[in-house]
Amino acid sequence: MLDATEGHTTADGRKIGPVVMEMKNITLRFGGVVAIENISFDIREGEIRAIIGPNGAGKSSMLNVVSGFYTPQEGEVWFRGQPRPPMKPYQVARQGIARTFQNIALFEGMTVLDNVMTGRLTHMKAGLFSQALWKGRAEAEETANREIAERVIDFLEIQAIRKTPVSRLPYGLKKRVELARALAAEPKLLLLDEPMAGMNVEEKEDMSRFILDVNDEFGTTIALIEHDMGVVMDLSDRVVVMDYGKKIGDGTPDEVRNNQEVIDAYLGVQH
């Protein structure tokens, strides 16, 4: 078992650091329905961590707990070695946790570039006054933010649609713009809620490549939810498996693949 404070290097030479986020005994209820039951797991710096499970397993709820959209009734969320008090989503975002949504949530009326620029809002330092007067610091900041946004746009190969209003884009590209917006925040932890849902094979391959590239080039820690077992096993370093709100497996893709409980959950139990 690895020590929580130490890191190691993967077979392909990526550095996996110490634990950056830890969920401790999280329980989340909606009225009488238990969405998440006493689940603990951790996310290490620099790794790609997947949460998988059948429909209704509580994966999205878990992501919503991490990003502050839901507050669990029990358990603690530890981020960067400290317990995190209950927070609003915008406060979580300001801590350096960016996310995408299962059903794309973009600013439809705005251009791709403007959407990506909103990703920089967490880095806004100039006060309202200088913003309003468009002077000094605000102007310099805008230029700096713009540079980072453009870099992300180049990286995700969406230069051609920079000035296009998002509402005119096809589904696959919208997903990519949403990823760009999250990346522009230079997050310490990137949460992806079904980044490949509803995509065709080609789009899935593109998205997988981008996720790997992001992790590789910027060392971004990524936690993602996926349905598609094949994709997850190829992408991730470690996998948490959920079923009916409970954790039924946790480990490397190989360990999880051979876990009897996981096989039962996905294929049904033989009688």
Binding site: Y90, A98, L106, M110, N145
Partner: protein, 317 residues
């Protein structure tokens, strides 16, 4: 009869081009004020999908506060600063007391709440400042009150200096607002919040901060409108009626579009004045300005339900 409708008015216009220019100018001045009020509506609608019925009374309230403070012996410019402070306080109070408890309620509830704010401000304003007409402190604010006389086409065109000032200030405010909304991060946050509040939260936008901000900006717009209109017609609760003119402006311009609000405002201002002078007074006994804008909006709506510049509504099936 047909001659009176289709030929005579145009003949009049050509015969006296200086008078036509005077009419257009008067229309432009009221138009820019309609546009300002509509802008206040658009801003709040864009950031929170609330149709702010209280925009009109905010104009009255701002003007009353300014005049009231001055009447208490506060110097004019300090009164302006204090009035801005009051408008900021109002924005904070509205967010805290009205909007926050109603987050997530249907639009119609929030709309009703703004009617509540309207009624409250009417009552509150009357208790504090009284209901009688007041004179705007135009000279004290350094707004020139003279007039320029031009002689185009050998005729006569009189431009009131306070109207010219109003147009200039309004234009600056509009340009400033456009730059703020389109080129700064805070402006992007405002637009983002109106588009998708969940996504806005996820990129670190605080609902409360933005709401206070847009209501404060609406308050600033209200004060500028109040000063400009008050300088022409005095300060009274009747001012609120001009806010209703913003409704047809919004129908023409669409609730979403800043450019639409401006162009819609100018169009209504100019067209209602033209109609009144050349058709209304000779043919209909005058006083058409009270209804012309609404009829025009109705006709536009029949052909373009989203307004002239509104975002097109496309349903994907």
């Amino acid at each position: 009869m047909l001659h009176d409708i289709f030929i005579a008015p145009f003949a009049d216009m050509i015969a006296a081009p200086d008078f036509l220019m005077q009419v257009l100018w008067e229309g432009l001045v009221s138009g820019i004020l309609y546009a300002l009020i509509a802008l206040g509506f658009v801003l709040i609608y864009r950031s929170s999908r609330i149709f702010n019925f209280a925009q009109g009374i905010m104009v009255v309230f701002a003007a009353l506060t300014l005049v009231g403070l001055h009447a208490m012996g506060v110097p004019a410019w300090i009164s302006v600063v204090l009035t801005l402070a009051v408008m900021f306080g109002l924005a904070v109070a509205i967010e805290r007391v009205v909007l926050r408890p109603l987050v997530g309620q249907p639009d119609i509830i929030l709309f009703m709440a703004t009617i509540g704010i309207t009624l409250f401000l009417i009552g509150f304003g009357e208790i504090i400042f009284g209901g009688e007409n007041k004179v705007m402190i135009t000279e004290e604010l350094g707004i020139p009150t003279g007039s320029w006389t031009l002689e185009p086409f050998g005729g006569l065109l009189i431009l009131e200096q306070k109207d010219v000032t109003a147009v200039a200030v309004a234009a600056m405010l509009v340009v400033g607002l456009l730059v703020f909304l389109n080129r700064t991060q805070m402006g992007r946050a405002i637009r983002a919040l109106g588009d998708d509040s969940q996504a806005a939260l996820s990129v670190g936008i605080s609902l409360r901060t933005i709401w206070v901000l847009v209501w404060f900006i609406a308050g600033i717009i209200a004060l500028v409108t109040g000063i400009a209109w008050g300088a022409r017609a005095g300060v009274s609760f009747a001012l609120e009626v001009i806010a209703y003119k913003a409704l047809p402006v919004l129908m023409l311009g669409g609730l979403e579009s800043i450019a639409g609000a401006i162009i819609g405002g100018l169009m209504i201002g100019v067209l209602e004045k033209l109609f009144e002078i050349y058709w209304g007074q000779p043919l209909l006994g005058g006083n058409t300005e009270t209804w012309f804008a609404f009829v025009l909006a109705l006709i536009v709506l029949l052909f373009r339900p989203q307004g002239l510049f509104g975002e097109r509504i496309i349903e994907r099936v």
